[in-house]
């Protein structure tokens, strides 16, 4: 292709940016009621946990149908979470999780 997809990239960017920007640019954030702020405080951990869970155990087949799959990624993520909760060190947790997955695959366990 010869540059035509740059137009597609611009359109895709144009529909993505408002999601990223609207709440940040909306006036009146300072006047939100405490209950809404309490809700927004919970959105962070909740949406990250949902993102992590879906990326850990949900697989999609060629027809687009999703199902649960409990492979080596799950114990690797659980190990990472345990280390983060214990040591408050994400990098250490990631090293352990990646190491577990890589090692398991190298020896044919996963």
């Amino acid at each position: 292709m010869n540059g035509g997809l740059i137009g597609l990239a611009i359109l895709m960017g144009a529909v993505t940016y408002p999601w990223r920007a609207l709440p940040l640019l909306a006036p009146g954030v300072e006047r939100l009621p405490p209950l809404v702020l309490a809700y927004l405080r919970l959105v962070g951990p909740a949406v990250l946990a949902a993102l992590a869970a879906v990326n850990t155990v949900v697989v999609t087949d060629a027809s687009g149908r999703a199902s649960l799959h409990f492979g080596i990624v799950l114990p690797a993520v659980v190990l990472c979470v345990a280390i983060v909760a214990w040591r408050r060190n994400l990098f250490l947790g990631l090293l352990a999780g990646v190491g577990l997955a890589a090692l398991s695959r190298a020896v044919g366990l996963a």
């Binding site: 909740a46 949406v47 979470v81």
Partner: protein, 248 residues
């Protein structure tokens, strides 16, 4: 209002005494694994784009203008299948809707940042930038605009774009990232950062509910919708089931 906000957005477990240098050191340590993940998947995207017939300019345009991995990967497949552009654009909007939640959650922190700078900050708001910067702000107990830029640009924008070019040019000679466990990095980083944001029972309930709701919706309907719905419903359940706690 400031007092109200500070009570409502408590710092991460006893870390308010951190100075900015120490907090940024921790931020950069948190970024290390995410840089590897962004780089690895950027390489895979560059390679996929090259194989789908993109020019290098088109691949780079996707990574700099759209700058959203899931929709970029989806577009590669859809372009290869000659899907009409309106359908691709519509799907992109749907896939990236979760960014609305990130933006809303960061808005109270960034309310004193000049509007123009907030508009620029929004451009580089990704899963990773959100997770890293929110954890950083909570560690500090206040906003750090420089920290946001470090997280957004350093963890994702630069690695993702550089890796797109590398993947396009030489990706075929690099082995599958799964072999090195790189596929674990993204979900593990998101899960680990989520744990770091938990400061009480409300967060625990919200997180648990978000996971259950997301998995049910993912299997019953759509994995991308599941993330948004889990992220919206989990906090509602947390608020409904757990009464307000005093922070700290």
């Amino acid at each position: 209002m400031r007092r109200q906000l500070r009570e409502d957005v408590p710092p991460l477990t006893g870390a308010t005494s951190l100075g900015i240098a120490e907090a940024r050191r921790r931020l950069i340590a948190d970024m290390a694994g995410i840089v590897v993940s962004s780089g690895a998947f950027g390489i895979v995207f560059g390679l996929a784009a090259e194989r789908a017939g993109y020019s290098i300019a088109e691949a780079v345009a996707m990574s700099t203008i759209v700058f959203a991995g899931a929709s970029q990967f989806a577009a590669v497949g859809l372009v290869a299948a000659a899907t009409p552009w309106p359908a691709i654009v519509l799907l992109t909007g749907f896939l990236n809707a979760r960014h609305l939640l990130y933006s809303a959650a960061l808005a109270p922190w960034l309310r004193r940042v000049p509007r123009l700078e907030r508009a620029a900050m929004a451009y580089v708001l990704t899963d990773e930038a959100f997770a890293l910067s929110l954890a950083h702000f909570r560690r500090l107990g206040r906003v750090d605009v420089g920290g946001y830029w470090i997280a957004a640009i350093g963890s994702t924008f630069i690695p993702w774009n550089v890796a797109t070019v590398v993947g396009f040019l030489v990706g075929g000679s690099i082995g599958a990232p799964e072999r090195f466990g790189i596929d674990v990095v993204f979900p593990a980083a998101m899960a680990g950062l989520s744990v770091g944001l938990i400061a009480g029972r409300r967060e625990i309930v919200a997180v648990a509910a978000a996971i259950v709701v997301a998995l049910v919706v993912a299997v019953a309907w759509d994995p991308h919708a599941a993330i948004v719905i889990g992220g919206l419903v989990g906090p509602l359940i947390g608020l409904a089931l757990v009464s307000a706690e005093r922070p700290g």
